[in-house]
Amino acid sequence: MVLTLFDKAGAGVLKATDTFGDFAVLAGRTFAAIFKRPFDGKNLLFQFQSVGVNSIPVVVLTSLAVSMVFAVQLAFGFKQFQAEGLASQVEGLAIMRELAPVITGLMLSGRIGSAMAAELGTMQVTEQIDALECLATDPIHYLFVPRLLASMVMVPILTVVSIYVGFWGGYLILVGVEGQSAYVYGNEFYKLLAFRDLRIALYKAFVFGMIIALVGCWKGYRTKGGAEGVGNAPTSSVVTSSLWILISDFFLTKLLLV
């Protein structure tokens, strides 16, 4: 009984180590392949569009919704203490430091991370990745690198978009509904913020971009088992990258706020 438990625990640890090692090796190969030739500008531009431009609507809508809900909660909460003026300050702080990078990261892990896993997974089970290998093309260089670069650049840009939209989401509620002065809101929103906060948000978004692309590509590349495997790859990619985004958010916040 005890031996069986140890056996199972050992097998679990071995499997987890194997999985993490596989991810680490593929991630390392991806970073090493960034500077390899040939440079495929067309493919990179396509990924910029797919990851960045096509994600703007979803980022705008979610940022607007979250910032509006947050403003409603803040207005209600601070009203209990007759401190309505603080709502816009806290709104600004929360959006810049946490909500914009995390909401953008989570939404993009669902939108582009899953798409990467599904696309590469389909290519894997239909032998298209083997065909790339046979055409003397490194799949890591051709498939992973443009997606990683696009995510590392576009997730921070989309985070800035999210911050901007978040400002107007808060404005709609605090100025439009709660009747605060637009001038006061505009000043108070940035009162507790420093340039460092924008830098923290961008660092976080950069790391989240890496996580989304690497996990999405890795899950797709390791797809096995036909249609069922292709179906599981995006789900697994979204769950894994969302978890890693939330865990890394905690450590990044602790690290960057020191």
């Binding site: 389909t122 239909t126 032998e127 298209q128 065909a131 290998e133 046979c134 055409l135 093309t137």
Partner: protein, 263 residues
């Protein structure tokens, strides 16, 4: 020296031994056809030659270079001299026919766009697919996809062509078309080739030598004439296409007597 040298090649997946001590040599300009039942390791043999799989023991050498010992960059250099035609074509489905055939040229050759276009048209003409360059793979039939796959494989002017079951799932007429294309490519380009097929008619047309893989082992590798008269019971059963004999591990269902037509 053989262009492709397969030496004591063994490969297993878990407990299932797929290839066991296979030895094959293919000389320059020679066309070898590999026959065998489904799941006997023919595709695994090709994947070992391409370096997509690593042998458990033994090795594969292409033009004297042992594939499993090459670095990634050296392996890619060798792969540029080999064209691989996949069983289901494995075309890049997000690209057009033109982009599929041009893929290798754009990545590995310093050619102008006009030169790429000319070479793609030449390759598509060789396989009878001229005028389809703007179609997507989803718009092609199975036989057309295979032919575009051939065009993509020959675009880089390889010295070796590997065909993985190029006629499986096609109607008899299209099977004959594919057989003729392989024969044309062999005569026009004079390249060394290995073809895996179940189609005996095209096998005897294409082959300089025929090998048969049975339960992971290569039990014959000889000229088509010798192969036809080889007394080995497995070969004779395979040539007859009969379910009764040593070929199948599990006994086949008994043959039903055909009902006599009422007089």
């Amino acid at each position: 020296m053989a262009v492709i040298d397969v030496v004591n090649l063994s490969k297993a997946f878990g407990p299932k031994v797929v290839l066991s001590n296979v030895n094959l040599q293919v000389q320059e300009g020679e066309s070898l056809v590999v026959l065998g039942g489904s799941g006997t390791g023919k595709t695994v043999l090709l994947r070992n030659i391409m370096g997509l799989l690593t042998p458990d023991s033994g090795h594969v050498a292409v033009e004297g270079k042992v594939i499993a010992q090459l670095s990634r960059d050296e392996l890619f250099d060798v792969r540029q001299s080999i064209g691989m035609c996949f069983q289901m074509a494995a075309l890049f489905d997000s690209m057009t026919v033109f982009e599929n055939v041009a893929f290798g040229l754009r990545r590995h050759r310093r050619m102008t766009e006009a030169e790429v276009r000319a070479r793609v048209e030449e390759c598509l003409a060789m396989v009878g697919m001229k005028g389809t360059d703007q179609l997507k793979p989803a718009e092609l039939s199975g036989g057309m996809k295979r032919r575009v796959g051939f065009a993509r494989a020959i675009a880089l002017k390889p010295k070796i062509l590997l065909f993985d079951e190029p006629t499986t799932g096609l109607d008899p007429v299209m099977t004959d078309v594919i057989g003729r294309i392989i024969l044309d490519l062999k005569h026009e380009l004079g390249i060394t080739s290995i073809t895996i097929t179940h189609d005996l008619k095209s096998a005897f047309e294409i082959a300089d030598r025929i090998a048969l893989i049975f339960r992971g082992e290569c039990i014959a590798c000889e000229s088509p004439a010798d192969f036809k008269v080889n007394p080995h019971p497995v070969i004779q059963q395979f040539l007859r296409g009969d379910a009764d004999g040593p070929f199948l591990q599990d006994p086949p269902p008994p043959k039903r007597k055909t009902q006599e037509a009422p007089s």
